[in-house]
């Protein structure tokens, strides 16, 4: 019984690992192919099945005028938009979460939970519902096709996540902590800044990681709200996916775009193993 269980367990784990890794392996292999080795028959292993070339990687840094893809600028755009929006969301979201966790609000029938729900419920909004009005809104104030416009939109996307994680986290930070600080003569802002914040680093890191993930992986807003001036990475990569797809540069650019966040997986795992995440995520 227990032997069978162990066997099934390792079988399932191996199966899932292969499933997870397969598209990456395929992309790595494809990125070194040329037209011939993509279109004649299915090939897998470089040197054995096909002669590898670096063409797919080379076009990434060439300018479009020379037939390249140039993903350098979209790359920096993506980093800028994601980081700025995450930072603003974390700051505002953490403040709001602290207020919702520590103080009681009453306005008519609205209580703390309702305000928290209001924040989190913004995630229910499908991007398409917001994209049409945002399109018109941003073009009215002249921010269509600009980095700033995207940052504004991404705040809506990310602040709910920050509030969701931080409210739960602050609820676990003992109230006595700020009360002691207040008795010791801090004003509420000092108590928050000097005592509560330093004790909330794990929560802040988790919230930050989630904001960065969900900012980085968004496609739809960037797709609708930008055209030529500003391009984000996902839009740029998907644009390659036209009728005659150059699979090699597509694979190479896809790998380059997903690489930075894979590091995040290691950070998340570290926090999981140290047990810091369980408090922050629930």
């Amino acid at each position: 019984m227990s032997k069978l269980y162990t066997f099934l367990k390792y079988f399932f784990i191996s199966f899932w690992t292969i499933f997870v890794v397969a598209p990456f392996l395929w992309a790595v292999s494809t990125s070194f192919k040329d037209f011939q080795s993509v279109n004649s028959k299915v090939t897998y292993i470089p040197w054995l099945d096909f002669e590898p070339t670096l063409e797919g990687w080379r076009v990434l840094i060439k300018s479009p005028a020379k037939g390249g893809v140039d993903i350098v600028e979209p790359y920096f755009n993506s980093i800028f938009v994601t980081c700025t929006a995450s930072l603003i969301s974390i700051v505002l979201g953490t403040l709001a979460a602290y207020a919702l966790s520590r103080f009681t609000f009453k306005a008519g029938f609205v209580r703390n939970n309702d305000i928290t729900f209001f924040f989190i419920s913004q995630r229910i909004m499908p991007p398409i519902v917001l994209s049409i009005p945002f399109f018109i809104f941003l073009s009215t104030i002249g921010l269509l096709d600009s980095l700033l416009g995207l940052v504004v939109v991404y705040i809506v996307l990310l602040m709910p996540i920050a509030v969701w994680i931080m409210v739960d986290f602050f609820n676990r930070v003992p109230k006595e902590l700020d009360e002691t600080a207040l008795i010791d003569g801090c004003n509420p802002y000092q108590a928050f800044y000097k005592v509560v914040l330093p004790n909330s680093i794990p929560g802040l890191i988790v919230a930050g990681m989630f904001c960065i993930i969900f900012g980085w992986i968004d496609f739809f807003f960037a797709f609708i709200l930008t055209f030529t001036e500003v391009q984000l990475l996902p839009v740029k990569v998907v644009a390659l996916n036209s009728s005659i797809t150059p699979w090699w540069s597509l694979s190479a650019s896809a790998l380059v775009s997903v690489a930075p966040l894979i590091i995040v997986a290691f950070v998340v795992e570290r926090y999981l193993s140290k047990g810091n995440l369980s408090g922050a995520l629930k």
Binding site: V20, P126, I132, V152, V163, L182, V238, W247, S251
Partner: protein, 288 residues
Amino acid sequence: MNFKHKFVFLFPGLFVLIGILIFPIIFTIRLSLSGWNSYTPEMNFIGITNYIRLFTDDPRFWESFFRLSFLSVTTVILQYVIGFALAMMVWREIKFKRFFRVIFLVPMMTTPVIMTVIWRTFFHESLGPVNDLLGGLGVKPILWLSDPVIAKFTVIIVEVWQWTPFMFLLLLAGLLSLPKEPFLAAAIDGASPFRKFVYVTFPLMAPISIGAIIIRLIEASKIMDTVFVLTSGGPGTATETSSFYIYIKGLREFQMGYAATLSFTYLVIMIISLTIIAKVLTKLMIKE
């Protein structure tokens, strides 16, 4: 504590969010009452004509909505079962525990559209590796993307690949935060692993499970990127979800007014159904 400080903490975030959202929401409602399209791009007032059209004369929207419900419920159930199983397996000591945990987390860190582009080449019917390897086993080429039924399953496979890690993460974080005592008690009573799971682990995990399922349902209901790249809603309308249908009406056919009607109706349905699902799930799972 002084009464006013709390507003200093809450208001910046709250008002930034409201400030950004208030215009789009009011605008959507107003737009839904207009006949804005590419011939008459103006904010006229046509009353509830659009809503009448939606409820009496648009089966395609309702079909796309049921398709979305099917897709999101199926993927979330699969993600929950697989995610829970994976979390249970790497919860306690096993070899290379940390390696497997990282591997299981990786897909959620990758951009869905970009990975879907890769999946599209992966499932390519003549040049992709799946059909090629299956062909080696003597299986006829499977029409992953052009058969109306199989295309749905392809979308499900990609979604499960992409988002099981999120479920896994929430459930594993939950498992790691469980108290030790109930497990000790069960071990002393000599409970079998199966009984331990049914009577100890699962009930303790119920609140976390509900949270995770609802979060995933919310995210899954927005399923759009995958469909957009993988099948563009096709073949025909076989994988068209509500979001994608609204996108076609609004930004391809420029029936802005009608698209706003669809958006608003869809949003209301989503909020109501997710609230009901949350209530039902809480009742079902906490009782056990």
